[in-house]
């Protein structure tokens, strides 16, 4: 009888006294809700096996038992601080299946909410990147400045993190009175604040010498491994779904994508920061071009049924291209909902980047992949 082929994690390995196996996570300050099994030889990582799956919640299966509107509140749970963006592809796909035409004003408000949420997510991510490098000021500053935009979202949607704002057919409610002025003021101040991060963090000589040339992901490997979002753009690939396949009104707005060539940990940490400034630009532009009045949602029939067929839509989230695939069989509930999440696609690059690195580089490389464990597990 031939020996069964075991998956890599279970394969019997030769014992080596030089090699020490470390379980980084799930209860470790340097991991999220996941485990990275790292084998080190002295200070060098010789093997790395990321082990996600600790927070699997079966969101996709749950979506098969609820109708198109009731799917909204639970599908945003995987990334609660980027909740508008994770709902965006689902809402776009559901609208196409239900055959809805969205009012112009709703499209602009969606773009504003999406960009605000991208900044909120990126600030949270940046705070943790700072504390992973031992920089406690960079933990507190983004976490504090994030409050500005959370307040804006609260004004807009009524909730601080889980907004449930996008629904098939538009958005849940219109903007409050004088929102435009408040939004412009807060966003301008926010942009001024994040520019100050350069002094304390991005131009810090210790940070640069620590993260430059660590965890280098070449352009070829970035494309081959299927990475997305800031990781892909940091490796020199100019790819942004907002530019390449514009959805809603992104083709009418004025913005640019940020690309860096080096593909190291520093570039991957800098791209989201530059993207936040572009987001501020988009918000200002959208506020200017937005129709000042009008309807913001299409009235839905109770329990609408989707057309037979399947739709795949994707958007650019805070972490990269986020896709949603819905199959409908003319019933009230979707037949199948599949989320294609950027976190999981970026995590695939982790073993390639960590092998040969020093243990001290592990947190910075791991978190620079813009990975959110809960989203990867869905």
């Amino acid at each position: 009888m031939s020996s069964p082929t075991l998956p890599p994690g279970l394969a019997i390995q030769k014992a080596d006294e030089r090699i020490m196996t470390l379980n980084v996570g799930p209860q470790h300050p340097g991991s999220g809700h996941m485990r990275i099994i790292v084998q080190i030889d002295g200070d060098y990582i010789v093997a790395c096996d990321p082990d996600p799956g600790y927070v699997h919640r079966g969101e996709e299966k749950m979506a098969e038992y609820r109708n198109y509107t009731l799917n909204v509140p639970h599908l945003e749970r995987p990334v609660i601080h980027d909740s508008c963006n994770i709902l965006y592809p689902y809402v776009l796909a559901a609208e196409e299946l239900l055959g809805l035409e969205i009012p112009e004003r709703a499209k602009y408000i969606r773009v504003i909410a999406s960009e605000l949420n991208r900044c909120i997510y990126t600030q949270y991510w940046l705070a943790i990147y700072g504390i992973f490098l031992g920089h406690s000021t960079m933990f507190m500053w983004p976490a504090g400045d994030r409050e500005l935009l959370i307040d804006l979202m609260e004004k807009m949607t009524g909730a601080r993190v889980t907004h449930s704002y996008f629904i098939p057919g538009g958005i849940r409610n219109d903007l409050p009175a004088n929102f435009e002025d408040v939004c412009l003021r807060q966003v301008n101040y926010f942009e001024k604040r994040i520019k100050e991060y350069a002094d304390v963090f991005y131009n810090n000589p210790i940070l640069i010498s620590r993260t430059e040339n660590t965890g280098v992901l070449t352009r070829e490997n970035a494309i081959k491994l299927g990475t997305t979002g800031s990781v892909l753009r940091a490796s020199g690939v100019d790819y942004d779904v907002r530019k390449k396949e514009p959805y809603d009104v992104y083709d009418e707005l004025d913005f640019e994508t940020n690309v860096m060539k080096s593909g190291d940990s520093y570039a991957r940490s800098r791209i989201p920061w530059l993207d936040m400034m572009e987001s501020c630009r988009i918000i200002r532009d959208a506020l200017q071009k937005m129709p000042k009045s009008g309807s913001v949602r299409v009235k839905l029939k109770p329990n609408p049924k989707g057309e037979i067929g399947s739709v795949y839509k994707r958007i650019e989230s805070g972490r990269g291209a986020l896709g949603c695939y819905i199959v409908s069989d003319k019933k009230v509930e979707p037949y199948r909902v599949k989320l294609s999440v950027p976190s999981f696609r970026n995590l695939i690059a982790l073993p390639h980047l960590l092998i040969g690195e020093k243990l001290g580089n592990m947190p910075s490389v791991y978190w620079s992949l813009n990975y959110w464990p809960v989203e990867a597990d869905r």
Binding site: H28, L133, G134, M140, I206, S209, G360, M362
Partner: protein, 432 residues
Amino acid sequence: MSVIAPNFKLSEFVKSILDNIFWILLILTLIGLPAIQFILFYIEMPVINGELLTPFLALTWLADPSRSIPILKAFMATDLFRIAAFPGFGFAALIAAGTIFVERKMLAKLQLRVGPFYCGKVEGILQLMGDGLKLISKEIIIPAKADKPIFWAAPVLFVATAAAFVALIPVAPGWVVADLDVGLLAVFAVIGFFPIITILSAWSANSKFPFIGGIRALYQMVSFEIPLILSLLGVVILTGTLNLSEITASQSSFPWIIFLPIGAIVFFITMLAELERIPFDLPEAESEIVAGWLTEFSGMMYGLVQLGTYLKLYSFAALFVVLFLGGWNGPMIWPPFPEEIITEGIELGPVTAQFPGLPLFSQEMLNGTVWFVLKTVGVIFFILLPRGVFPRIRVDMLLDLGWKKLIGLAFVNIFIALGLLYAGILGPGGIL
């Protein structure tokens, strides 16, 4: 109100004391009388104003301020006072506690938050006490596979070594616990103990993350000890002594930092590394190795290590002040003691009280202490500041900095000192 802390009533408190007064008297008699007998029999009492001081006499004199001052002075002349209170442990622990408070509040101000706020009503001034109480009341957990005697001993040894370091620091003229002729060598010897304790505690925990942290601490401390020692040689060459009090006294007209700035910078950087402070806190890098060599410590064992760490911080800052900033030397800012209190006494209503033993401390000593504390607090401030500004560096960058750059700079500093000496500008004891 919570259930744990019921309403406090004075009447009930008094009643409980009255209920127990029999037992209090009994225990006082059973313990207090033998204690007095023990003191009378075994301990040599000082002779004050021609009278042999006995515990009974001391109790009698405490009621009279003019006679209690000689007792205080006699107590302050003992070694116990020097070790436990003024230049020793109590003084250092007080500065360490202040350091922790200032560190928290300053870092909080830097990071757009308020820091400790509620404990103690005023700006969270009692937060440290609350933390201490919490640590004392927590269970001490020892890992099952740990080498228990060494694991237990490590925090105690750490505090003891830090306290030994404190004992070598001269605070004011004549006020030092151990005035050694080889004071600086003793400092090097004490510093050499820290990596041993660290690696022993890390190894004895028998756990992976403490082990990696201990190895890192060992690398860091051993490789930074060499530039540390070399950077201080310049001062020794110029003063011609290893006695810390004499080194301080030699800086009466100018501090050595004017002539040896490179040495001071090298010493400051190595000091940060020896203290495991950001940017050199690799042995406790939380995102990589949880809490480094402190991971398995819990409860008051962790508290002891923290106490030792802050005592060490005070000692290093004080050493920097003694060697480079002139120690207790400074302009006389302390007002002279009013002589009329001795000659005329103080009028307390109808009575004029005489205080023959005053002043307790000389003006030079108080002035020196003030300058020493001011300078030390300034240095501590600069030790705390990088924590808000820098991220952590990596092991290879750390070793590169220690072995290549700092040792070279330390040698440059030695050559500057030798040049000053042979050019005849400076010699042992000051300007020639």
